[in-house]
């Protein structure tokens, strides 16, 4: 090259005009980056768009445009090309409350409201204490009064009449409230230095975890009466509840054990050196730390417990799934079972999704350090 100074290039008339840089923010840039980054990406985007174009209009037409929303005559649904959401409008009382007496449904609504309100309160860290556990026990007592009746002028309703969403929520709360202490006890037992206690806990945990929940429920509901004297009868809902608690306890125990193992040895040794007795050490030093560590993992078990409440429909209880199956025995509406199941699908999704979002929040919260 020549000796012409480089700086002169910037002088007007001496350099060619360069195009402005490509924008790196805003919608067009975003689309370019995330949808049409390279050939590979572009092809995939076009394929997905084509697949959506083929499926979405049809589905939308079926679910919304051509759907029948409210009618009490199934013939209207037969005539329409779309979904028959009228089955939900027609049967929602049975699906949500099962065989509970129709004029007592307000009690069921109260139970649902109470349990949801308590759950929301429980999500705030500032309420986390043993007191909250006590509040839950009180909630269970109030719920039992509302469901059983027979006092305060409420009409008596036996557990055989329980059903729908209240039963699902009661099963869920009962499982968690009863199962958490069992899980802690089993986990402590598994780490016990007493061989007999340890063997018993290991056996119980491993056997329960090795078989399907439905066999545990089956044992609890159909076998249990065989093993107790004839004159002693235990309520069917209670038996299913015991089965659910045992199963939750066995799974929860392994999670809690993980937390116990994660506590540094020094904590145990310091407690021993300070002369604390076993339960003092456990309650004041070990468990408060261990339980905090395992909260995210326990949340997974709790969500699973919610999903597993559906299993009681197999042993003949009328939870939301069982009640829906009963509602669909009506031959007039049986054709529209998929729509009814989509409805309870959404119902369960709302509960589980909010719990899983909350669990993610707690996990992030814990990951940021010891801030509570």
């Amino acid at each position: 090259m020549t000796t012409r100074p480089t700086i002169s290039r910037a002088l007007p008339g001496t350099s060619t005009r360069r195009p402005p840089p490509v924008r790196e923010s805003g919608a067009p840039a975003w689309i370019r980056k995330n949808l049409f980054g390279d050939l590979h990406n572009t092809v995939i985007t076009l394929l997905v768009l084509w697949a959506l174009f083929v499926t979405v209009p049809g589905l939308f037409g079926w679910a919304v445009l051509d759907a029948v929303w409210v009618t009490d005559d199934p013939q209207d649904c037969r005539a329409a090309a779309g979904a028959c959401w009228a089955v939900v409008a027609e049967k929602h009382r049975v699906m949500l409350f099962g065989t509970f007496p129709y004029e007592q449904h307000w009690r069921g609504v109260l139970v649902i409201g109470l349990i949801i309100a308590m759950s929301i309160v429980s999500t705030f860290k500032r309420f986390w204490s043993y007191g909250l556990f006590g509040a839950w026990v009180a909630t269970v007592a109030i719920v039992l009064v509302l469901q059983l009746g027979g006092v305060f002028g409420l009409a008596k309703t036996g557990t055989h009449e329980w059903g729908g969403l209240p039963l699902t929520l009661i099963m869920f709360v009962g499982t968690v409230v009863g199962g958490l202490p069992l899980a802690v006890l089993l986990a402590l037992g598994r780490r016990s230095t007493m061989p007999a206690i340890k063997a018993l806990c290991v056996g119980m945990i491993e056997i329960t975890r090795g078989v399907p929940l439905i066999t545990v429920l089956f044992m609890a509901s159909l076998m249990f009466p065989l093993f107790v004297p004839e004159q002693l009868t235990v309520d069917k809902v209670l038996r299913a509840q015991i089965g659910m608690i045992l199963f939750f306890g066995a799974y929860g125990a392994e999670v809690v054990r993980g937390g116990l193992q994660a506590i540094p040895r020094g904590q145990y040794e310091a407690a021993d050196a300070a002369g604390l007795a076993y339960w003092q050490k456990t309650n004041r030093i070990i468990l408060p730390q261990a339980l905090r560590i395992v909260i995210p993992a326990l949340m997974n078990d709790i969500i699973r417990a919610f999903k597993n409440t559906t299993f009681v429909s197999i042993i003949g209880l009328f939870d939301v799934l069982g009640a829906t199956a009963t509602a669909l025995e009506d031959p007039l509406w049986v054709l529209y079972a998929p729509e009814a199941y989509i409805f309870i699908f959404v119902l369960y999704f709302c509960f589980c999704f909010s719990m899983s979002k909350y669990s993610e929040h707690v996990e992030r919260d814990l990951a940021t350090g010891r801030n509570f």
Binding site: G37, N41, I44, V48, T193, M194, I214, T310, Y348
Partner: protein, 410 residues
């Protein structure tokens, strides 16, 4: 000074007085109660005693109840005639066969649906897990929707929903068909299938052998590269091997080409390979649900691989395929396998949900046998034993595999 202290410990010096061991405190009830060893033994004796007492009491109650109903105990009933039919089975069975054979049918059915679902769930799960990590916004979003929807709804509701969907399909006469080879109707799915011929099993065997051989070739090539530094291109040789060996066996076996195409006769299809609505619904329910969990496990496994590893691989000039096969996959697998094992066990156990839609799996058949024979305790024992051994076998196999992929540290 130091010497005197040392000398104290030496026995022969005679400097130190022999110390008297501390006196044991006198045995009192209070002292005994405060003795940790004694209390531990006492608690254990009490717990074992309580468990044994409870067991004896409960078995006694069960015995009385059984005697009252005139049910004989023991496993003798297994050889008696079952007297009930089973909807579908891979092994020959009719209602005149024994209970034992009915159990065998049930176990085979449970294993059949579980094994196929495990493959389906793994394939779909890995695909969605990788899609979740895609740069493409659509792909990543859609797979995240899939994961959230299927993970956050009960599996039983999903199974029942698929079942209602399959049974609401049109009757066989108006069956949906895919190019006249696969037919979907309310009787399930029927597809064209190669007609039975002696050559097919051998061809399958040849395929398995070829896959084993291909694995051996890869291992040899790897050793060769380590020894000499030269890469042997084995991919095409292996593809050739996997295709050629079964083809040769097929040709030697008589080259059967007959295809059994299902045809409509009366109200249902005849011929072809038929999958019942119950099987289909359970297959979908098991594999789609577990796939969502596998996808999350795969995603977190791949994300857990250290960024530095990827950068280092790029820095030494590894290609895209080598980056995935030799750097990311081996490290991600270590993280993926333990939780994936738990999912496989869970899938197999949840095949018992087939009872809700009438698929003849172990739990379902066991219920029938319990009701007919009345040998409740024996039946529940058999069922528990089978489920436990399946769960433990999966855990065992996966543990062996897990050990194989773990880091071999020197």
């Amino acid at each position: 000074m130091t010497e005197t202290i040392l000398s104290r410990a030496l026995p022969s010096q005679g400097v130190t007085r022999r110390r008297v061991p501390p006196r044991r405190p006198p045995m009192t009830l209070d002292g005994l109660w405060n003795n940790v060893g004694f209390r531990s033994v006492l608690y254990q004796v009490l717990v074992i005693g309580a468990v044994i007492a409870l067991a004896v009491y409960m078995i006694g109650n069960a015995q009385t109840a059984m005697d009252k109903r005139g049910i004989s105990t023991g496993f003798g009933f297994l050889t008696q005639e079952a007297g009930f039919a089973i909807g579908e089975s891979l092994i020959a069975y009719d209602s005149e066969d024994s209970y034992l054979r009915a159990y065998a049918v049930a176990i085979v059915n449970t294993l059949k649906v579980s094994v196929i679902s495990v493959f389906g769930a793994t394939l779909l799960g890995v695909l969605i897990g990788i899609a979740r990590l895609s740069n493409n916004w659509f792909v990543s979003r859609l797979s995240s929707y899939y994961i959230e929807i299927f993970r956050n709804t009960p599996q039983l509701v999903q199974i029942v929903f698929w079942y209602t969907l399959v049974t609401r399909m049109p009757a066989p006469k108006q069956a949906w068909d895919i190019s006249e080879t696969i037919f979907l109707s309310n009787r399930g799915m029927v597809m064209a299938w190669p007609a039975a011929h002696a050559a097919w099993p051998w061809m399958l065997l040849a395929f398995v052998v070829a896959c084993g051989g291909a694995y051996g070739v890869v291992q040899w090539a790897d050793r060769h590269r380590r020894r000499t530094g030269r890469t042997v291109p084995v991919l095409w040789w292996n593809i050739g091997l996997v295709i050629a060996l079964p083809t040769i066996v097929w040709w030697i076996g008589g080259a059967p080409t007959a295809i059994d195409v299902p045809t409509l006769q009366g109200f249902n299809f005849v011929g072809g390979m038929a999958l019942s609505p119950e099987f289909l619904a359970l297959l979908l329910g098991l594999s789609l649900y577990i796939a969502a969990f596998i996808a999350e496990i795969v995603r977190s496994g791949v994300q857990a691989v250290d960024r530095g590893q990827v950068e280092a691989a790029r820095a030494v000039g590894l290609g895209r395929a080598d980056l995935y096969m030799k750097v990311i996959l081996p490290q991600a697998l270590r993280i993926i396998i333990p939780p994936a094992t738990a999912q496989y066990v869970s899938l197999t156990k949840n095949s018992s949900l087939g009872v809700a839609i009438g698929y003849p799996e172990l739990f379902n058949i066991n219920n029938t046998i319990t009701t007919i024979s009345g040998n409740t305790i024996e039946c529940i024992g058999i069922m528990m034993a089978v489920y436990l051994s399946i769960a433990f076998s999966i855990a065992l196999v996966m543990n062996v595999y897990n050990r194989a992929v773990q880091i071999k540290e020197r």
